[in-house]
Symmetry: C2
Subunit: 141 residues, 2 copies
Amino acid sequence: MKITSRFTVAVHTLLAIYVLGKEYKMTSDFIASSVNVNPVVIRRTLSSLKAAGMIDVKAGSGGALPAKDVNDITLYDIYMAVDCVEGDLFNFHENPNPKCPVGKNIHAVLDSHLSDAQMALENELKGVTLADLMEQLNLLI
Amino acid sequence: MKITSRFTVAVHTLLAIYVLGKEYKMTSDFIASSVNVNPVVIRRTLSSLKAAGMIDVKAGSGGALPAKDVNDITLYDIYMAVDCVEGDLFNFHENPNPKCPVGKNIHAVLDSHLSDAQMALENELKGVTLADLMEQLNLLI
DNA sequence: TATAGTTGTAATCAAAATGATTACAACTAT
DNA sequence: ATAGTTGTAATCATTTTGATTACAACTATA
Protein backbone atom coordinates (compact mmCIF):
# COMPACT_ATOMS: atom_id res chain seq x y z
CA MET A 1 0.00 0.00 0.00
CA LYS A 2 1.14 3.49 -0.74
CA ILE A 3 1.38 6.64 1.30
CA THR A 4 -1.75 8.74 0.85
CA SER A 5 -1.79 11.59 -1.63
CA ARG A 6 -2.83 13.88 1.22
CA PHE A 7 0.90 14.43 1.50
CA THR A 8 1.58 15.66 -2.04
CA VAL A 9 -1.68 17.59 -1.95
CA ALA A 10 -0.48 19.36 1.20
CA VAL A 11 2.90 20.19 -0.32
CA HIS A 12 1.22 21.50 -3.43
CA THR A 13 -1.15 23.54 -1.29
CA LEU A 14 1.64 25.12 0.75
CA LEU A 15 3.67 25.93 -2.33
CA ALA A 16 0.65 27.60 -3.87
CA ILE A 17 0.00 29.66 -0.76
CA TYR A 18 3.59 30.70 -0.25
CA VAL A 19 4.39 31.39 -3.90
CA LEU A 20 1.12 32.77 -5.24
CA GLY A 21 -0.27 34.20 -2.03
CA LYS A 22 0.89 37.72 -2.72
CA GLU A 23 -0.72 37.77 -6.10
CA TYR A 24 -3.99 35.95 -5.46
CA LYS A 25 -6.46 35.33 -2.67
CA MET A 26 -5.83 31.71 -1.83
CA THR A 27 -9.30 30.28 -1.25
CA SER A 28 -10.02 26.59 -1.08
CA ASP A 29 -11.66 26.88 -4.48
CA PHE A 30 -8.60 28.50 -6.02
CA ILE A 31 -6.22 25.92 -4.58
CA ALA A 32 -8.56 23.08 -5.48
CA SER A 33 -8.45 24.07 -9.12
CA SER A 34 -4.65 24.04 -9.10
CA VAL A 35 -4.39 20.70 -7.33
CA ASN A 36 -7.42 19.36 -9.15
CA VAL A 37 -9.32 17.87 -6.26
CA ASN A 38 -12.55 18.76 -4.51
CA PRO A 39 -12.46 22.02 -2.51
CA VAL A 40 -13.51 20.16 0.63
CA VAL A 41 -10.39 18.05 0.36
CA ILE A 42 -8.39 21.27 0.35
CA ARG A 43 -10.28 22.66 3.32
CA ARG A 44 -9.39 19.56 5.27
CA THR A 45 -5.79 19.95 4.22
CA LEU A 46 -5.85 23.60 5.28
CA SER A 47 -7.19 22.54 8.66
CA SER A 48 -4.23 20.25 9.19
CA LEU A 49 -1.69 22.78 8.00
CA LYS A 50 -3.26 25.44 10.19
CA ALA A 51 -3.15 23.14 13.21
CA ALA A 52 0.55 22.67 12.50
CA GLY A 53 1.03 26.43 12.51
CA MET A 54 2.11 26.61 8.90
CA ILE A 55 -0.68 28.85 7.66
CA ASP A 56 -3.40 31.15 8.89
CA VAL A 57 -6.94 30.75 7.65
CA LYS A 58 -9.87 32.81 8.77
CA ALA A 59 -13.39 31.51 8.43
CA GLY A 60 -15.62 33.97 6.69
CA SER A 61 -13.21 36.32 5.03
CA GLY A 62 -11.36 33.46 3.45
CA GLY A 63 -7.93 33.02 1.98
CA ALA A 64 -4.95 31.21 3.49
CA LEU A 65 -1.79 33.06 4.45
CA PRO A 66 1.79 31.97 5.22
CA ALA A 67 2.48 31.73 8.95
CA LYS A 68 5.97 30.35 9.24
CA ASP A 69 9.45 30.83 7.87
CA VAL A 70 9.93 28.68 4.79
CA ASN A 71 13.20 27.43 6.24
CA ASP A 72 11.33 26.04 9.22
CA ILE A 73 8.98 23.81 7.26
CA THR A 74 10.36 20.50 6.06
CA LEU A 75 8.68 17.78 4.01
CA TYR A 76 8.71 15.75 7.19
CA ASP A 77 6.73 18.42 9.01
CA ILE A 78 4.12 18.37 6.27
CA TYR A 79 4.05 14.59 6.20
CA MET A 80 3.41 14.60 9.94
CA ALA A 81 0.88 17.42 9.73
CA VAL A 82 -1.42 15.47 7.44
CA ASP A 83 -1.04 12.16 9.29
CA CYS A 84 0.23 10.11 6.39
CA VAL A 85 1.38 7.43 8.76
CA GLU A 86 0.20 6.97 12.30
CA GLY A 87 3.14 5.56 14.18
CA ASP A 88 4.63 2.64 12.33
CA LEU A 89 4.98 2.68 8.57
CA PHE A 90 5.04 -1.12 8.35
CA ASN A 91 2.00 -3.11 9.29
CA PHE A 92 2.83 -6.13 11.39
CA HIS A 93 0.69 -9.25 11.55
CA GLU A 94 -1.18 -9.37 14.86
CA ASN A 95 -0.59 -12.09 17.43
CA PRO A 96 2.26 -14.22 16.13
CA ASN A 97 2.17 -17.50 18.03
CA PRO A 98 4.19 -17.25 21.25
CA LYS A 99 4.40 -21.03 21.45
CA CYS A 100 6.57 -21.07 18.32
CA PRO A 101 10.21 -20.01 18.72
CA VAL A 102 9.90 -17.88 15.60
CA GLY A 103 6.53 -16.38 16.51
CA LYS A 104 7.75 -15.65 19.99
CA ASN A 105 10.76 -13.68 18.82
CA ILE A 106 9.76 -12.21 15.48
CA HIS A 107 9.20 -8.75 16.93
CA ALA A 108 12.52 -8.78 18.77
CA VAL A 109 14.25 -9.69 15.53
CA LEU A 110 12.41 -7.45 13.10
CA ASP A 111 11.17 -4.31 14.83
CA SER A 112 14.45 -2.42 14.95
CA HIS A 113 15.14 -2.98 11.28
CA LEU A 114 11.70 -1.77 10.26
CA SER A 115 12.12 1.23 12.48
CA ASP A 116 15.53 1.95 10.93
CA ALA A 117 14.04 1.87 7.46
CA GLN A 118 11.22 4.18 8.44
CA MET A 119 13.68 6.58 10.04
CA ALA A 120 15.83 6.58 6.93
CA LEU A 121 12.83 7.67 4.91
CA GLU A 122 11.79 10.30 7.42
CA ASN A 123 15.29 11.69 7.75
CA GLU A 124 15.38 12.18 4.03
CA LEU A 125 12.14 14.15 4.27
CA LYS A 126 13.59 16.20 7.10
CA GLY A 127 16.38 17.30 4.78
CA VAL A 128 14.11 19.17 2.38
CA THR A 129 12.58 22.51 3.33
CA LEU A 130 9.79 24.49 1.75
CA ALA A 131 12.49 27.04 0.97
CA ASP A 132 14.31 24.44 -1.12
CA LEU A 133 11.15 23.63 -3.05
CA MET A 134 10.34 27.30 -3.63
CA GLU A 135 13.83 27.92 -4.93
CA GLN A 136 13.48 25.06 -7.40
CA LEU A 137 10.03 26.20 -8.37
CA ASN A 138 11.05 29.80 -8.97
CA LEU A 139 13.65 28.63 -11.46
CA LEU A 140 10.89 27.00 -13.47
CA ILE A 141 8.24 29.70 -13.40
CA MET B 1 -1.55 4.29 4.81
CA LYS B 2 0.84 1.65 5.91
CA ILE B 3 2.85 -0.98 4.12
CA THR B 4 0.93 -4.26 4.02
CA SER B 5 1.64 -6.95 6.59
CA ARG B 6 2.33 -9.31 3.68
CA PHE B 7 5.88 -8.18 4.20
CA THR B 8 6.28 -9.16 7.86
CA VAL B 9 4.29 -12.31 7.18
CA ALA B 10 6.77 -13.21 4.43
CA VAL B 11 9.77 -12.55 6.65
CA HIS B 12 8.22 -14.63 9.41
CA THR B 13 7.49 -17.39 6.91
CA LEU B 14 11.04 -17.47 5.58
CA LEU B 15 12.55 -17.48 9.05
CA ALA B 16 10.30 -20.37 10.00
CA ILE B 17 11.29 -22.36 6.92
CA TYR B 18 14.99 -21.68 7.24
CA VAL B 19 15.22 -22.13 11.00
CA LEU B 20 12.71 -24.87 11.70
CA GLY B 21 12.78 -26.59 8.32
CA LYS B 22 15.17 -29.32 9.43
CA GLU B 23 13.08 -30.24 12.39
CA TYR B 24 9.56 -29.98 11.00
CA LYS B 25 7.72 -30.35 7.74
CA MET B 26 6.87 -26.78 6.88
CA THR B 27 3.34 -27.00 5.52
CA SER B 28 1.13 -23.98 5.04
CA ASP B 29 -0.90 -25.13 8.03
CA PHE B 30 2.15 -25.34 10.24
CA ILE B 31 3.42 -21.91 9.22
CA ALA B 32 -0.05 -20.42 9.46
CA SER B 33 -0.28 -21.45 13.08
CA SER B 34 3.03 -19.77 13.85
CA VAL B 35 2.18 -16.57 12.02
CA ASN B 36 -1.45 -16.77 13.12
CA VAL B 37 -3.14 -16.14 9.80
CA ASN B 38 -5.24 -18.24 7.47
CA PRO B 39 -3.31 -21.04 5.71
CA VAL B 40 -4.40 -19.69 2.32
CA VAL B 41 -2.63 -16.43 3.13
CA ILE B 42 0.53 -18.44 3.72
CA ARG B 43 0.10 -20.38 0.48
CA ARG B 44 -0.08 -17.10 -1.40
CA THR B 45 3.02 -15.93 0.41
CA LEU B 46 4.77 -19.18 -0.45
CA SER B 47 3.83 -18.67 -4.10
CA SER B 48 5.54 -15.27 -4.11
CA LEU B 49 8.62 -16.48 -2.30
CA LYS B 50 8.85 -19.46 -4.62
CA ALA B 51 8.57 -17.20 -7.67
CA ALA B 52 11.44 -15.19 -6.24
CA GLY B 53 13.52 -18.36 -5.97
CA MET B 54 13.81 -18.24 -2.20
CA ILE B 55 12.08 -21.52 -1.48
CA ASP B 56 10.94 -24.71 -3.13
CA VAL B 57 7.41 -25.95 -2.67
CA LYS B 58 5.99 -29.03 -4.25
CA ALA B 59 2.27 -29.43 -4.71
CA GLY B 60 1.01 -32.69 -3.35
CA SER B 61 3.81 -33.86 -1.11
CA GLY B 62 3.88 -30.54 0.66
CA GLY B 63 6.39 -28.72 2.78
CA ALA B 64 8.51 -25.71 1.85
CA LEU B 65 12.29 -25.92 1.65
CA PRO B 66 15.09 -23.35 1.56
CA ALA B 67 16.36 -22.66 -1.95
CA LYS B 68 18.87 -19.86 -1.56
CA ASP B 69 21.85 -18.84 0.51
CA VAL B 70 20.69 -16.87 3.53
CA ASN B 71 23.31 -14.22 2.75
CA ASP B 72 21.68 -13.66 -0.62
CA ILE B 73 18.24 -12.76 0.69
CA THR B 74 17.74 -9.25 2.01
CA LEU B 75 14.67 -7.65 3.52
CA TYR B 76 14.45 -5.66 0.32
CA ASP B 77 14.27 -8.85 -1.74
CA ILE B 78 11.41 -10.09 0.39
CA TYR B 79 9.67 -6.72 0.25
CA MET B 80 9.89 -6.83 -3.54
CA ALA B 81 8.87 -10.47 -3.72
CA VAL B 82 5.53 -9.84 -2.03
CA ASP B 83 4.79 -6.62 -3.91
CA CYS B 84 4.41 -4.35 -0.92
CA VAL B 85 4.72 -1.34 -3.14
CA GLU B 86 4.23 -1.24 -6.86
CA GLY B 87 6.57 1.39 -8.16
CA ASP B 88 6.22 4.56 -6.19
CA LEU B 89 5.78 4.50 -2.43
CA PHE B 90 4.13 7.92 -2.40
CA ASN B 91 0.79 8.44 -4.03
CA PHE B 92 0.62 11.61 -6.07
CA HIS B 93 -2.59 13.48 -6.84
CA GLU B 94 -3.58 12.93 -10.45
CA ASN B 95 -3.72 15.75 -12.97
CA PRO B 96 -2.44 18.85 -11.23
CA ASN B 97 -3.58 21.85 -13.26
CA PRO B 98 -1.00 22.65 -15.98
CA LYS B 99 -2.45 26.15 -16.29
CA CYS B 100 -1.20 26.99 -12.82
CA PRO B 101 2.52 27.65 -12.38
CA VAL B 102 2.53 25.44 -9.30
CA GLY B 103 0.43 22.68 -10.80
CA LYS B 104 2.54 22.72 -13.92
CA ASN B 105 5.81 22.21 -12.04
CA ILE B 106 4.87 20.29 -8.93
CA HIS B 107 6.20 17.03 -10.31
CA ALA B 108 9.47 18.60 -11.40
CA VAL B 109 9.91 20.01 -7.91
CA LEU B 110 8.76 17.08 -5.83
CA ASP B 111 9.42 13.80 -7.63
CA SER B 112 13.14 13.54 -6.97
CA HIS B 113 12.74 14.16 -3.26
CA LEU B 114 10.06 11.52 -2.93
CA SER B 115 12.19 9.13 -4.87
CA ASP B 116 15.17 9.87 -2.61
CA ALA B 117 13.11 9.15 0.47
CA GLN B 118 11.87 5.89 -0.97
CA MET B 119 15.40 4.88 -1.90
CA ALA B 120 16.64 5.68 1.60
CA LEU B 121 14.05 3.29 2.99
CA GLU B 122 14.80 0.61 0.46
CA ASN B 123 18.55 0.88 0.93
CA GLU B 124 18.08 0.31 4.61
CA LEU B 125 16.14 -2.85 3.80
CA LYS B 126 18.90 -3.94 1.43
CA GLY B 127 21.35 -3.81 4.32
CA VAL B 128 19.69 -6.59 6.29
CA THR B 129 20.00 -10.23 5.23
CA LEU B 130 18.09 -13.30 6.29
CA ALA B 131 21.43 -14.45 7.71
CA ASP B 132 21.44 -11.42 10.02
CA LEU B 133 17.93 -12.15 11.20
CA MET B 134 18.71 -15.83 11.78
CA GLU B 135 21.76 -14.93 13.80
CA GLN B 136 19.69 -12.63 16.00
CA LEU B 137 16.97 -15.23 16.30
CA ASN B 138 19.32 -18.02 17.27
CA LEU B 139 20.57 -15.97 20.19
CA LEU B 140 17.01 -15.81 21.49
CA ILE B 141 15.90 -19.40 21.00
C1' DT C 1 -3.62 -48.19 -7.09
C1' DA C 2 -6.56 -46.16 -3.67
C1' DT C 3 -6.03 -42.83 -0.15
C1' DA C 4 -4.73 -39.22 2.89
C1' DG C 5 -2.50 -35.07 3.05
C1' DT C 6 -1.04 -31.11 0.47
C1' DT C 7 -0.69 -27.24 -2.69
C1' DG C 8 -2.62 -23.85 -6.08
C1' DT C 9 -6.04 -20.83 -7.07
C1' DA C 10 -10.53 -18.90 -7.91
C1' DA C 11 -14.36 -16.77 -5.79
C1' DT C 12 -16.61 -14.33 -1.97
C1' DC C 13 -16.89 -11.51 1.90
C1' DA C 14 -16.39 -7.97 5.49
C1' DA C 15 -13.69 -4.29 7.11
C1' DA C 16 -10.96 -0.24 6.63
C1' DA C 17 -9.13 3.71 4.18
C1' DT C 18 -9.47 6.98 0.70
C1' DG C 19 -11.08 10.71 -1.81
C1' DA C 20 -15.46 12.86 -3.94
C1' DT C 21 -19.37 15.09 -3.05
C1' DT C 22 -23.51 17.34 -0.92
C1' DA C 23 -25.22 20.14 2.48
C1' DC C 24 -25.37 23.67 5.59
C1' DA C 25 -24.29 26.36 9.76
C1' DA C 26 -21.14 29.92 11.09
C1' DC C 27 -18.37 33.61 10.12
C1' DT C 28 -16.52 38.21 8.07
C1' DA C 29 -15.71 42.08 5.18
C1' DT C 30 -17.93 45.46 2.69
C1' DA D 1 -28.00 42.80 4.88
C1' DT D 2 -25.44 40.23 1.75
C1' DA D 3 -22.16 37.71 -0.86
C1' DG D 4 -18.40 34.89 -0.42
C1' DT D 5 -15.95 31.82 2.57
C1' DT D 6 -14.59 28.34 5.92
C1' DG D 7 -15.51 24.30 8.98
C1' DT D 8 -17.44 20.06 9.34
C1' DA D 9 -20.67 16.32 9.31
C1' DA D 10 -22.71 12.86 6.54
C1' DT D 11 -22.80 9.81 2.46
C1' DC D 12 -21.02 7.27 -1.19
C1' DA D 13 -18.23 4.52 -4.43
C1' DT D 14 -13.83 2.59 -4.99
C1' DT D 15 -9.88 0.15 -3.67
C1' DT D 16 -7.15 -2.71 -0.76
C1' DT D 17 -6.64 -6.03 2.54
C1' DG D 18 -6.87 -10.26 4.74
C1' DA D 19 -10.22 -14.20 5.97
C1' DT D 20 -12.51 -17.84 4.36
C1' DT D 21 -14.73 -21.52 1.52
C1' DA D 22 -14.29 -24.61 -1.99
C1' DC D 23 -12.28 -27.70 -4.87
C1' DA D 24 -9.25 -29.47 -8.56
C1' DA D 25 -4.64 -31.23 -9.03
C1' DC D 26 -0.79 -33.38 -7.32
C1' DT D 27 2.38 -36.79 -4.64
C1' DA D 28 4.04 -40.10 -1.43
C1' DT D 29 3.03 -44.29 0.50
C1' DA D 30 0.49 -48.01 2.48
